[in-house]
C-alpha cells in the first residue's frame, strides 16, 4: 500500500482543462455521468440505488414464497419456481441488497466522516461498483438465459448456500448453477477491491488530528467489516472457482463418486458465510452507534469497549462457522468447541447492547424516525441474539437447525437488525445526501407498518420451527399444525411490503418537496455535518482538523469541549 504522506507535496503537473461535453440536465448527460464518475459520493449513491433496485425483485420473490406456503397444498408456484425463488431471494438479498448497501453507506459516509476528499483509489472504486452491479445483473440474467423450458429462463435453484452434490452436473444439469457461481465470483471481485479501497482510505486519508482512537464508530465498524470482507470472501470465491472447474472442466472437488466430500463445500461456504453475517451487521452496529448518541444527546458510552468489542467480534467470527453444521455428524469435541466459540461471541455483542442502553440512560431521547428505528433495532437484535444463543447450544440446535426457527432467527438479524439499521441510517443521512428531509409523518407510517409487518411475519416462524416445520419446503400437508402460523406470517410479509412502498414514496416525495435540511439538521457531532448538504464534489473547502471524537461538539460548545477530557 502506498504511503500517502511521502508525496503529498508533489502536485500533479498536467491539469486537464475543464472537460468538454459534460453539460448537465439531459438524460444522456446523466447516464454519461453515471458511467464516468469516480466521485465517492455518486458511487455511494449508486451502490445504494443498486441495493434498492435489487431489493424490489428480491422482495417480490419473498412475497411469492410466502404466498405459496400461506396455505397447505398451494399451487401458486411449482416446486421449480419455488426453489428458484428461495435461491434468488436469499442470494439477491445478501449479495445484492445488503452488501451494496454496506458498501454504499461506507462509500458515502466514511470519507466525509474522516474528513477526506475522496477514496484512496477513486477509479478502483468505480470498478468495484460496476463489477458488483454487473455480477448482480449476470445472476438475474439467468431468468432469461437460463436453461428453462419453452424458451423461459431458469434461475439457480440450489438455495443460497448451494450445498455441494446438489450443484454438481449430475444433479443440476442446466447452466443455472453456473449463473450463480459466476455471478457471485464477479461481484466478489468488486467487493474485495472495494474493501481494500475503504481500508486504505481509512488508514491513510484521515484528516489532521483524527487518530484511530478518535474515529467515529461507524467508520470503525466499517474498518472491521472491510477486514472481514478481505479475509473471508476469498474462501467463497475459491469454493466457487472449484465449482466452476468441476462443472466446466470435470474436476472432482465435491463429487461423491470420486471420493470427494460434500462436507468440504460446507466448510468453505460457512467459513465465508458466518463472517458474512458480521460483515453485514457490523456496519449496522455502526449506524446505531452514530444515531443513538446523537438522538440521546450524549456521547457513546464506553467508546473503547465498543471498538474492542467490534474487533473481538471480527476475530471470533472466524472461528464459529461450523455451528451451521452441527447436524452434519461432527465428533463431539468439534461440536463442543464450536458451540463454545458461538456462545463466546455473544459476550462482545452483549457488551454493545448494554453500551447503547447506557448511552440512552440519562439522556434526552428525541423520538425522531432514525431513533425509532434504532429502538426497534435494539429490541429485535436482542431477541435475535438470544435466539442465536439458543441455536449456539448445539443440542438445542439439533432440533432447531434447518427449521423455520432458523429462518426466524436470521431474519431477525438481517431484517430486524440490519434493515432496520439501514432505515435508521437512511432517515439520518438522507438530508445530508439530498439536502432535504424525509417526511416525518410518512416516516411514522413507514415505521409502524413495517415494524408490525416484521413481527407478524417472523414471530410466528419461531413457533413453526418448534412445531417441526423444515425450511425450503414448497408445500406441506394439512394437519401438521402449521396452517395458522403460516397464514399469519404471509399477512405480515405483505404488511412489510406496504411499509416498504411507503418508504419508497417517502424517498421520492422528499427528494422533490421535502423540507430543506440545512447543513446539520440533527445537531450532530461528526465531520460529515460540517459541510453543506449535499456536499460539494470536493467535500470540504478546507480539510478539517479535529481534536476529539466529536469535532462539532467542540465547535458548538467552546465553553466545554470534548478535547479537554481526552
Amino acid at each position: 500500500m502506498a504511503n500517502p504522506t511521502s508525496s503529498l507535496k508533489e502536485v500533479g503537473t498536467e491539469l486537464a482543462p475543464a472537460p468538454p461535453g459534460r453539460e448537465h440536465g439531459t438524460l444522456t448527460a446523466w447516464i454519461q455521468d453515471l458511467i464516468f464518475t469516480v466521485d465517492h459520493k455518486k458511487l455511494g449513491l449508486m451502490y445504494v440505488g443498486m441495493a434498492w433496485l435489487f431489493f424490489i425483485p428480491a422482495g417480490i420473490l419473498a412475497s411469492l414464497i410466502r404466498t405459496q406456503i400461506a396455505v397447505p397444498n398451494n399451487h401458486v408456484l411449482g416446486p421449480e419456481a419455488f426453489n428458484q425463488a428461495i435461491t434468488m431471494h436469499g442470494t439477491a438479498m445478501i449479495f445484492f441488497f445488503a452488501m451494496p448497501m454496506v458498501f454504499g453507506l461506507a462509500n458515502y459516509i466514511v470519507p466525509l466522516q474522516i474528513g477526506a476528499r475522496d477514496m484512496a483509489f477513486p477509479r478502483l472504486n468505480a470498478f468495484s461498483f460496476w463489477t458488483t452491479f454487473f455480477g448482480a445483473c449476470f445472476l438475474f440474467l439467468s431468468y432469461i438465459f437460463g436453461p428453462g423450458l419453452y424458451g423461459m429462463g431458469a434461475a439457480p435453484d440450489a438455495s443460497w448456500f448451494a450445498l455441494a452434490p446438489l450443484t454438481s452436473k449430475a444433479f443440476s444439469p442446466g447452466n443455472n448453477i453456473d449463473f450463480w457461481s459466476l455471478g457471485l465470483l464477479i461481484s466478489g471481485v468488486g467487493s474485495v477491491t472495494g474493501a481494500v479501497n475503504v481500508m486504505v482510505t481509512i488508514f491513510c486519508y484521515r484528516c489532521k488530528g483524527l487518530t484511530l482512537y478518535r474515529m467515529p464508530l461507524f467508520t470503525w465498524m466499517v474498518l472491521v467489516t472491510m477486514f472481514l470482507v478481505v479475509m473471508f470472501l476469498p474462501p467463497l470465491s475459491a469454493a466457487q472457482i472449484m465449482l466452476v472447474l468441476e462443472r466446466f472442466f470435470g474436476a472432482k472437488f465435491f463429487e461423491a463418486q470420486a471420493g470427494g466430500s460434500a462436507v468440504l463445500w460446507q466448510h468453505f461456504f460457512w467459513i465465508f458465510g458466518h463472517p458474512e453475517v458480521y460483515i453485514l451487521v457490523l456496519p449496522a452496529f455502526g449506524v446505531i452507534s452514530e444515531v443513538v448518541p446523537v438522538f440521546s444527546r450524549k456521547p457513546i458510552f464506553g467508546y473503547p469497549m465498543m471498538v474492542a468489542a467490534s474487533v473481538m467480534i471480527g476475530f471470533i467470527s472466524a472461528g464459529v462457522w461450523a455451528h451451521h453444521m452441527f447436524t452434519i455428524g461432527m465428533d463431539s469435541f468439534s461440536v463442543t468447541f464450536f458451540a463454545f466459540a458461538t456462545l463466546v461471541i455473544s459476550i462482545p455483542t452483549g457488551i454493545k447492547i448494554f453500551n447503547w442502553l447506557a448511552t440512552m440512560f440519562g439522556g434526552k431521547i428525541r423520538m425522531e424516525i432514525p431513533m425509532l428505528f434504532c429502538i426497534a433495532f435494539l429490541f429485535q437484535f436482542l431477541i435475535a441474539g438470544l435466539t442465536g444463543v439458543m441455536l449456539g447450544v448445539a443440542p438445542f440446535d439439533w432440533q432447531l437447525n434447518d427449521s423455520y426457527f432458523v429462518i426466524a432467527h436470521f431474519h431477525y438479524v438481517i431484517v430486524g437488525g440490519i434493515v432496520f439499521a439501514v432505515f435508521a441510517g437512511f432517515y439520518y443521512w438522507y438530508p445530508k445526501a439530498v439536502g432535504r428531509m424525509l417526511d416525518h409523518r410518512l416516516g411514522l407510517w413507514h415505521f409502524w407498518i413495517f415494524t408490525a409487518g416484521f413481527h407478524l411475519t417472523f414471530d410466528p416462524q419461531h413457533f413453526l420451527g418448534f412445531l417441526g416445520m423444515p425450511r425450503r419446503i414448497y408445500t406441506y400437508q394439512e394437519g401438521r399444525g402449521w396452517e395458522f402460523l403460516n397464514m399469519l406470517s404471509t399477512i405480515g410479509a405483505f404488511l412489510q411490503g406496504v411499509g416498504a412502498i411507503i418508504f419508497i414514496i417517502n424517498m421520492i416525495y422528499a427528494a422533490r418537496k421535502g423540507k430543506i435540511a440545512g447543513d446539520d439538521p440533527w445537531d450532530a457531532w461528526t465531520l460529515e455535518w460540517i459541510t453543506s448538504s449535499p456536499p460539494p464534489e470536493y467535500n470540504f473547502e478546507q480539510l478539517p482538523e479535529v481534536r476529539s471524537r466529536r469535532p462539532l461538539w467542540d465547535l458548538k460548545h467552546p465553553e466545554d469541549p470534548d478535547w479537554r477530557f481526552e
Partner: protein, 279 residues
C-alpha cells in the same frame, strides 16, 4: 494516487471522470457470460476488458489525470458551525441517585482476582471437608462439580464419585477457578454499589444466597448429578464461605479511582480531588 486531491486558490483538483473502470467490469462480466453462452461473448468480453484495462492504465500513467473543480459560490457553501445556545447539565458528583451507575471508586481489579481465588479456595476446602466427613473422599465434591460438563460423571454411582478422575479434576479446577476469578472481579465493582455500611453482609451472605436461589430451579438440568446428591445446607455454607472470604479480601483492598470518574468530575468543572475531599 497520492496526488489526487490538491488544493488550489480557485478550486480542488479531483480525478477526471473516466469510463474505463466500467468498461473493464463489463468485460469481466462478458467473459463470465462466455462460459454460459458462447465463446463469442467471451471474446467480446476479453476485448472490452483489454480496452478498459489499457485505457485505465493510460489514465494513470505516467501521471494520473486530473481536473480542477472550482469552489462553489460562497452562498452555497456550508455555514460555519454556530455555538450552541444549550446549557450542559452536569451530574452532581456523589449524589445518591447516580452512584449506582457510576461508582466513583472501585477496588483494584487485581484484588478481585485474589479475592476470587481466596474465596474459591475457601469454598473448595469446605466442600472437600464435607466430602471427607460424609463420603470419606475429597474427590467426591470435585467429581460432582465436574459432572456439569462430563456425561460419564453424570450417571456415576457414589463409589465412582469417590475415586480420583483426571478429566473430572481438570474440568472441576478449571471451571471453579474461572468462575471464582470472574465472581471476584464482579465483587470489586459490586461492593462499592452496595449499601455502604453492611458490605460484608450483602456481599458475603445475600449475594451468594441470591445466586444459589437463581441456580436452584435449573439445577436439575445444569448439573443433574449434583442435584441428585446435593446436601443443600453444606452447599449454601460453601457458597457463603466464598462470599465472605472473597468479599473480605476485596473489601480490604484499597479503592482506586477510575479514569472515568476523573474525567467525569473534571467535565463538570469541579476538580476531582476537591470533590473527594468534600465527601
Amino acid at each position: 494516487m497520492d496526488t489526487e486531491h490538491a488544493d488550489h486558490a480557485e478550486g480542488v483538483e479531483l480525478p477526471t471522470p473516466t469510463p474505463w473502470p466500467m468498461l473493464s467490469a463489463l468485460g469481466i462480466m462478458l467473459i463470465a457470460g462466455g462460459f454460459v453462452t458462447s465463446f463469442v461473448v467471451a471474446l467480446v468480453g476479453i476485448l472490452l476488458g483489454l480496452i478498459g484495462g489499457i485505457g485505465w492504465f493510460r489514465e494513470l500513467f505516467p501521471v494520473p489525470n486530473h481536473e480542477l473543480v472550482p469552489y462553489t459560490e460562497p452562498a452555497k457553501r456550508a455555514a460555519p458551525i454556530k455555538v450552541s445556545p444549550r446549557r450542559i447539565s452536569h451530574l452532581a458528583l456523589g449524589a445518591g441517585g447516580h452512584r449506582a451507575y457510576y461508582p466513583l471508586r472501585v477496588h483494584r481489579y487485581s484484588s478481585g482476582i485474589t479475592g476470587g481465588l481466596a474465596g474459591g479456595a475457601a469454598m473448595a476446602v469446605l466442600a472437600m471437608l464435607y466430602g471427607l466427613i460424609f463420603q470419606h473422599s475429597i474427590w467426591y465434591p470435585i467429581n460432582l462439580l465436574a459432572a456439569a460438563g462430563l456425561p460419564t460423571m453424570e450417571s456415576a454411582n457414589v463409589a465412582m464419585l469417590n475415586e480420583f478422575h483426571l478429566s473430572a479434576f481438570i474440568i472441576a479446577v478449571l471451571s471453579h477457578g474461572v468462575l471464582s476469578i470472574l465472581v471476584g472481579m464482579l465483587y470489586t465493582v459490586l461492593l462499592p454499589m452496595l449499601p455502604a455500611r453492611y458490605e460484608w453482609f450483602w456481599g458475603g451472605i445475600i449475594i451468594p444466597l441470591i445466586w444459589t436461589a437463581m441456580l436452584f430451579p435449573m439445577f436439575d438440568i445444569v448439573n443433574p448429578a449434583l442435584a441428585a446428591h446435593v446436601n443443600w445446607f453444606w452447599f449454601i455454607v460453601c457458597q457463603i464461605s466464598f462470599g465472605l472470604v472473597g468479599g473480605y479480601v476485596v473489601f480490604k483492598s484499597q479503592k482506586v479511582e477510575t479514569m472515568q470518574t476523573w474525567s467525569l468530575a473534571a467535565r463538570m468543572g469541579v476538580h476531582a480531588m476537591e470533590t473527594e475531599e468534600d465527601r
